[in-house]
Amino acid sequence: MFYGDFQAIKEVTIAVPARRITALIGPSGCGKSSFLRCLNRMNDVIEGARVEGDVLLDGRNIYDSRTDVVELRKRVGMVFQRPNPFPVSIYANVAYGPRLHGIPDRSRLDAIVEKSLRAAALWDEVKDKLRQTATELSGGQQQRLCIARVLAVEPEVVLMDEPCSALDPTATFRIEELMTELMADYTIIIVTHNMYQASRVSQFTGFFLLGELIEYDHTPKIFENPQDQRTDDYVRGRFG
């Protein structure tokens, strides 16, 4: 993956297991977020960014010219660092995607909104104020709303780019618990600066450094007995 002449990610080969949480860790600028954006072609919108190689989803290369990018992003949803609800009602936030994908039917939308908010562990807190503007929710609630918005279009893969970095510890633990619940139905890939979060929630962890995937293994292995000295130094906080 390149930004102009600069190669941000070098020859990464990784098999992400379905219905598991895979965490990507590494210091700032290591390429982990750039890599995450490769997985649903979010880098397409960045000028000068280009990708070589294949990203296979169910055996098909998402960089194939025939790929419908809107459809791809429906299958591979994304949650961002800062909660970014639209300044409309809670209901309209969740219903936005399904409407975009052609579901106008009110009762079906109601069902999708409820199901998505329940899956995002937010329903009980907002069911009586669905018409309230989403931006009035707390940061943690807003982030769960964004997760509900992603789930509403029934993705297979959910990418999370530092989803808790703007949240307090309680809201963070809520999201982590939610991720563990969602794992039964979704493949989750999370980029996090917080390696303790990676160790708490994920089953697999990849360590990126200077655009390379240094080590990728079961999470306990990475944090108890990594094989590469650079991984060991990083997870022990001795990096640099």
Binding site: M195, Y196, F223, N225, T231, V235, R236, G237
Partner: protein, 225 residues
């Protein structure tokens, strides 16, 4: 300029030092208990029994320090394995202190008894065991896997001595039933020493884990309880 996590490194180094100190203290308890046994020295035996409280305090102090580092520093990888190792090892070292107390109590029991033969093999076994303890703790602080192998090999020699003593003392008891009351406690002392060696092998196994990340039994037939 200070290194990244220098204060944490210093606290880890302090753990090593505290463990070495505890090891040296317990080794001295064992040496004194043996001296008390050989020389019929009741007051020295009582000192050993009293010293056990200090060994127990050292054990608790180090465990508390480990718990604090786990809670406050979120150790990972090598650091995590080091702290886990120290927590396991102090239990083995503490147990060696307990066996030293058992030997000291035997010394008091036999204080008025003239031995049916000079004590030679048992003190020799105790010297070897103390050397093993010192090597195992050196292996830990120096991350020395060669010393680990050496300790495991030495345990075989201790086992041979124990079985030799068992045969010898059994034979004496059959021939001279009148010495049974002192032969049985002395046989138990040999058994305590053999068990101490097994605890030292446990320490060696932990050092191996700390360095390699592999949890394995190095001397399968010699596991301590």
């Amino acid at each position: 300029m200070r290194r990244i996590r220098q204060s944490f490194d210093e606290q880890l180094a302090q753990l090593d030092q505290d463990l070495l100190k505890m090891g040296a203290f317990v080794a001295e308890m064992l040496a004194n208990a043996m001296q008390a046994l050989v020389e019929h020295d009741v007051s020295l035996a009582r000192e050993v029994i009293a010293a056990d409280d200090v060994a127990d305090e050292m054990d608790l102090g180090i465990e508390q320090q480990c718990m604090r580092l786990l809670a406050l520093q979120q150790p990972m990888a090598q650091d995590l394995r080091t702290i886990g190792t120290v927590m396991k090892v102090i239990a083995d070292v503490e147990r060696i202190g307990d066996y030293s107390v058992d030997i000291a109590r035997t010394a008091i029991t036999l204080a008025e008894t003239e031995y049916f033969k000079p004590l030679v093999d048992i003190p020799k076994m105790a010297d070897m065991v103390r050397e093993m303890l010192s090597e195992a703790l050196q292996a830990l602080v120096n991350r020395d896997l060669d010393l680990v192998s050496q300790v495991v090999a030495e345990d075989d020699a201790i086992d041979k001595m124990w079985y030799g003593l068992l045969d010898e003392i059994q034979e004496i008891m059959q021939q001279r039933p009148e010495v049974i009351t002192q032969a049985v406690p002395l046989l138990l002392v040999a058994r305590y020493l053999e068990r101490i060696a097994d605890h030292i092998v446990n320490v060696a196994e932990r050092v191996s884990y700390m360095e390699t990340g592999r949890l394995e039994t190095l001397a399968p037939s010699h596991r301590a309880d």
